[in-house]
């Protein structure tokens, strides 16, 4: 029971501080799960993101479900997911019912302006760490640059980028192994 409450509380906190969707959550997940608790490795988080990209639903929820399941089975998955969505639920209900003017307040806008820039900085910082750990050879660098071009220049959907990269890994790593 304590375990379930801890999962709920952890993902509640992550959900509360995630501004800007699933990817903005990565620095928080890395801080809490990898650095502080050792529940997952950087590589496992990346794998979860790639799976989340190709499966139904919201990435944030997908990650919470898997981590919760690993820690405490199906009830763990449910508690982690509930924790993840609860802050949004409360905040949006508040905004929709009483605080309609809240979002247009000048100081709120300034605070969010600062937070959004901080999110960019946090994401760049995480990418720097992931790059140093995971981009070890020409193959990885090639996939990274190829994926970036497909995403930014050709606006290809993330699902196809993940599938193409998986296929490239299967064939090219397979050839290297022979």
């Amino acid at each position: 029971m304590k375990q379930l409450f801890n999962l709920f509380q952890l993902f509640f906190r992550i959900g509360l501080f995630t501004f800007g969707g699933g990817y903005a959550m990565l620095p928080l997940l890395q801080g809490e799960l990898v650095k502080k608790r050792g529940w997952a490795t950087d590589e496992e988080l990346l794998d979860l993101y790639s799976i989340g990209q190709c499966t139904p639903g919201i990435i944030a929820v997908n990650v919470a479900t898997v981590i919760g399941y690993r820690r405490a089975g199906i009830s763990g998955a449910c508690f982690a997911t509930l924790g993840m969505v609860m802050p949004s639920l409360i905040i949006i209900l508040l905004i929709a019912s009483v605080l309609t003017q809240f979002m247009y307040n000048r100081y709120v806008a300034y605070a969010f302006g600062g937070v959004r820039i901080c999110v960019v900085a946090l994401i760049l910082n995480v990418i720097y760490g992931l790059w140093r750990k995971n981009i070890k050879d020409y193959f990885c660098a090639g996939v990274f640059i190829g994926a970036l071009v497909l995403l930014l220049v050709f606006n290809l959907s993330a699902v196809w980028v993940v599938i193409a990269a998986g296929a490239a890994g299967y064939w090219l790593r397979g050839m290297a192994a022979k």
């Binding site: 989340g52 605070a111 960019v120």
Partner: protein
């Protein structure tokens, strides 16, 4: 029964919006045409609000639409409907992952995908930067945050709180 309809409609969004986040938007536009829960303009406003409130856009939108349709219980039911497909699918995948993660073929596929996911995360960061880093003040703030985060020893939540204060003080 409005609750059943809400649950079912958002269950469908959750099931078919593969990739999450902004992928849910076209599905939500369809809902705005089919029902009178919210208008297309309110949806656009909601996307803007979601950019600056915590939590995933899909969840925010389900809560908002459900609330409009049937009050607070409606918001809760719609959110549960949205989340339910992910929950089921991911529990199944988590079971499979434990079984196959040591398989060398699976390893090879994941080896290929990891650098691509780093690129995905970078492109998401660039998307947010396009909205947030709009003037010289913002560029300076970004550089300062980068240095503080890189050399600091605190967790991300500390920096997020700090940046909200900095935003108000320096009118970013």
């Amino acid at each position: 029964m409005i609750y059943v309809i809400l649950f079912f409609e958002f269950f469908k969004v959750g099931l078919f919006a593969i990739g999450g986040g902004l992928v849910t938007v076209p599905f939500l536009f369809d809902l705005s045409e089919k029902y009178s829960w919210f208008t297309a303009k309110e949806l656009a406003d909601m996307i803007a609000v979601s950019e600056s409130t915590p939590g995933p856009l899909g969840v925010n939108m389900a809560t908002f639409a459900g609330f409009r349709a049937a009050g607070i219980p409606g918001g809760i039911v719609a959110t549960l409907g949205l989340v339910f497909p992910s929950l089921v699918v991911m529990i199944l995948i988590a079971k499979m992952m434990d079984k196959y993660s040591c398989n060398t073929r699976v390893q090879r596929v994941l080896d290929g995908i990891r650098p691509a996911v780093i690129a995905l995360i970078l492109s998401a960061g660039i998307e947010i930067a396009r909205m947030a880093v709009v003037n010289l003040k913002a560029v300076i703030a970004l550089v300062v945050f980068l240095l503080v985060i890189h050399f600091g020893k605190r967790g991300p939540i500390f920096y997020l709180a700090l940046s909200a204060v900095a935003g108000i003080v320096f009118k970013i």
